[in-house]
Amino acid sequence: MKLEFKLQFRPAPRAKESFDMCVEGCWEGELHVVRGPSGSGKSTLLKLFAGLLTPQAGTITLNDRHLLDTSSQVHVSAEARRIGMVFQESLLFPHLSVERNIFYGNQDREFARLLMHALEIDSIKHAKPGNISGGEQRRVAIARALATKPELLLLDEPFTGLNEELRHSLCGLLEVIQNEYEVGLIIVSHDYVELFDALDSSSIHFIDCGKLIED
């Protein structure tokens, strides 16, 4: 994965963030972790990558595909970016079963079934999201995002609310996903960076007050 970006973003007057975001980078490699204190702009950065927020100025290029260039009016919508996102809360659609959640944006049912098997959620496929555990919800949310075969998967605080055993299990799962499905991963996490064996220092980024501070 190669993600190049240069973004300037001023949040709406009543937004949670009180600072302007100004970030720039060229990230290569399949796994990146963004760390930073609460309210530092981590989730905003992911939403900018995903196309859920529009910066005032900037460019985003993913694997040489221009997703955004404000100077030449290029703006690929969130629906067409092929960037999946798993939010801090799993946000499974409450009216749909686990299986229907995973099929929701998916065109390839067979691939979705393989994912359910790989993520060990096929036994709960008929359950409603309200009837499964937090760890299962997180895996379903990841399967749902992966089922659309994204080029890049963004995970916002995926370890929050999970116990140590589930954290290790999810971490192993993410490394398997990264290797098996050839998808780039950007993980926003307060902590737990040590869980990833494959991480080197160039893949860990620190953000504070809307600025990326590279180690």
């Binding site: 969130a78 939010f87 659309t148």
Partner: protein
């Protein structure tokens, strides 16, 4: 003594028929308007909001008067309906359904809008990242999640239609078997000497139907509050 005669039955049947037709008529417009007001931002939104609320604050007789001017057989739009299709809304039961639909429209929009507003906006963001188009998100995500509110709003609109009087009598008159719904039949009876006794059965029916619709509406609206 309360006896259900043919006139009573006619009024009850017509009321139910007009109220059902009015609810069917109002629902697609109310859902679309409520969704636009809840989920989108556009220039002139507050003007649209005021316009939507208008039938709630205007005297129903005034609404009926406007309907007569616009949709009457010689009205601004009604004359084209008559010339092109031979349809006359004034003094007909479908005119009564239209009058009820307009009067119940703000109530339906309010209930349905609240249910759209109660949906966590992040669900929509998730669906966007899954590559789902806006129209499909509306059909498969927003509508099902707002369904208890939509049903509750429909029942409320139905109940309001059952009680509609002012706009109906102004626009479509009080024609037995065509436009004389329960409220109009009660009114007609009360104009006659000793008509109170004949009105009692219609009053009882009206109270029962309205209470049933409002209670069911409240049940669905509370489902909305607890499920999203």
């Amino acid at each position: 003594m309360m006896n259900l005669d043919a006139g009573h039955l006619e009024a009850i049947q017509l009321s139910l028929f007009v109220s059902i037709a009015s609810t069917i008529l109002v629902l697609p417009v109310a859902i679309t308007t409520a969704w636009l007001l809840a989920q989108t931002q556009f220039v002139g939104k507050s003007i649209v909001e005021a316009f939507v609320t208008m039938p709630l604050v205007l005297p129903p007789v005034v609404t009926g008067y406007f309907l007569l001017i616009i949709m009457g057989r010689t009205g601004l739009f009604g004359r084209y309906l008559w010339d092109a299709f031979g349809i006359q809304l004034s003094f007909s039961w479908y005119g009564a359904a239209l009058a009820s639909a307009i009067v119940s429209f703000p109530l339906a929009v309010r209930s349905i809008r609240q249910s759209f507003e109660a949906i966590n906006p992040q669900y929509d963001q998730v669906a966007q990242t899954l590559g789902v188009s806006r129209s499909r998100r509306f059909l498969t995500l927003h509508l099902p999640l707002a369904m208890p509110g939509i049903i509750g709003g429909s029942l409320l609109a139905f109940a309001r239609s059952l009680g509609e009087f002012g706009a109906t009598i102004t626009f479509v008159g009080n024609i037995p078997g065509e436009t004389r719904t329960i409220p109009l039949a009660i009114y007609s009876n009360l104009q006659r000497p000793n008509g109170e006794t004949e009105s009692i059965i219609l009053v009882v029916c009206s109270v029962i139907l309205s209470i049933a619709a409002v209670v069911m509406s409240e049940v669905y609206l509370s489902m909305k509050r607890t499920s999203i």
